[in-house]
């Protein structure tokens, strides 16, 4: 059977949960979802029941914002009990930390951050990127169970199933090792804006903006008008104009929106590795030789500070 681990926030599954449903359905019909967390997670489990035949809710407030160790133990316990052959997680930060621990704990294999996963006979085979996303590898797991972390956005969100599934509640016993780490205060950076990985449109600004004020006025301004996520290059983050969590690239986030604006971004390979799965890419840069143009569908050579106001006006003027 295929087990999917559900991330949730504010009493609802995250978008990635429904992408995992799609990935799981491609691997088999016997799909179960596991939801971790106290009472707040109950509606999440109920929501998932519309998509998969069976949902396990590990009902324990100790699993609200759990450490990686607790989460690993809870998932391992459920996967073991259900005899899962494949466990799917979303390859966000949390999923990428838990998946390796879980795979080792289960004595299985990890296929990490995959863009696609399929069965090849009894084997599990996946496609993933490597070398700063410049190469694509087809990889096969050599031992079961197979833990797979799936790249956000790689699969479409699934439609509900024909028949609703069941929800079962259960508990898990933790050990002292699970409590060694003590997660503390969380600071959310969402600020009411759409999460970068989930945005359909991302507006990214680079050093070509000149200064932090121009970035705020032009890049954030355009993002607000489009309901888009705001992203930055490493140079911008290093310069202190923007926070780390907006950084896209090798050392930051990896995004794949339908539309990506690279504004004043030169296009170093480290940056490209975080955005080259985007649908349509628009680049504006003063340097006509900037590598970003090679990675773009539409390129405008010019000063981003002159082009952007005109572009905002033009976008606003579309019917």
């Amino acid at each position: 059977m295929i087990l999917i681990a559900i991330d949730h926030a504010h009493g609802a599954p995250r978008r990635g949960a429904f992408e995992l449903v799609s990935a799981a359905r491609g691997l088999g019909s016997d799909v179960a979802a596991v939801v971790l967390g106290g009472p707040e997670a109950a509606p999440v489990a109920a929501a998932l029941a519309a998509f998969v035949p069976s949902v396990v809710h590990v009902d324990d407030a100790a699993l609200d914002h759990p450490s990686h160790e607790r989460r690993t133990t809870a998932l391992a316990s459920v996967a073991g009990e259900l005899g899962a052959e494949v466990v799917l997680l979303v390859a966000g930060r949390g999923g990428q930390a838990v998946a390796p621990r879980l795979a080792l704990r289960l004595g299985g294999t990890l296929l990490e951050d995959v863009a696609a996963v399929r069965r090849d006979g009894t084997a599990v085979v996946a496609e993933r990127l490597a070398y700063l996303s410049r190469a694509s590898l087809t990889v096969r797991a050599t031992a079961a169970p197979v833990v797979v972390s799936v790249k956000p956005g790689a699969y479409p969100a699934a439609a509900p199933a024909d028949a609703p599934g069941s929800v079962a509640s259960r508990s898990v016993a933790f050990t002292a090792a699970d409590d060694a780490a003590r997660p503390g205060e969380r600071r959310s950076v969402a600020r009411g804006r759409v999460a970068l990985e989930e945005a359909d449109v991302v507006v990214c600004g680079g050093r070509g903006l000149g200064d932090a004020a121009s970035f705020e006025r032009l890049v954030v301004g355009l993002a607000d008008e489009l309901g888009a996520g705001v992203a930055s290059t490493r140079a911008v983050v290093d310069a202190g104009w923007r926070p780390y969590d907006e950084q896209v690239g090798q050392t930051g986030k990896s995004v794949a929106p339908k539309l990506y604006f690279a504004l004043g971004v030169s296009g170093a390979v480290q940056h490209l590795s975080g955005m080259n799965r985007s649908g349509t890419v628009v680049a504006v840069n003063k340097d006509g030789d900037a590598p970003i143009f090679k990675a773009s569908d539409y390129g405008i050579v010019g000063d981003v500070r002159e082009v952007l106001p005109a572009l905002r006006a033009a976008l606003a003027g579309l019917d």
């Binding site: 990686h68 190469a135 694509s136 050599t142 997660p183 969402a190 983050v237 050392t251 539309l259």
Partner: protein
Amino acid sequence: MIIATYVKHVPDAEARLAADGGRIAVDDHAYALDGMDEYGVEAAVRLKEAGLADEVVALAIGPARSEAALRTALALGADRAVLLETDDDLDPLAQAGPLAEATRACGAELLLVGGKQADWDSAALGPAVAEALGWPVCDWTTELRLEGREVAAVHDVDDGSEAWSASLPVVVTTQQGLNEPRYPTLPNIMKAKRKPLERRPLTATARVVTLAAALPSRARRGVRLEGDAATVASELARRLRDEAKVL
């Protein structure tokens, strides 16, 4: 207290890649110490400079050329180095056991690992070796303090940051923002040649097999729009709507 810091010798960002049969071929001269690991070496050396650690040991797994990454770590301030030498492409889970063993063998209680490796694009090694050691892991760390045996950190989580604390021993994965790594100065590079570097043969079995490798290039339209700002802007808006159909 002894700190172990893992380093990997990876192709640099400008390296030319070639898909050669089922694997990716890289020019031997295009390798360097993984930038993500530099934050870990820097953190370890700073803890030692602050009198909070006695020794910094750099650990690497890989082919003989990985010695260059270890020499860089030694030039940056590590005291000694150990190379677990193998020519096999080992996935992070296959590396976790040997790395855990080497960490125990040098008596380290803090193991630093780069948050993401630039060859496999993998963030798995830190958590995997933590599992093999039975230690907690703080991933994507941006702040790290050590008071006695207490580790206080801040790290990135899916939608923000989180404070994190634990007692030694722990695994910490490092990233940009944790510190500003120093350069290896030329005198220190020369001195690093005289620091101890031990090579041990490693036999391990990969758990993940690469069936095929390719260098995909996504076809882009590559349209250049030219003219004054107002003209190109309205042309772009029109094309985004009518041609790319993304608005």
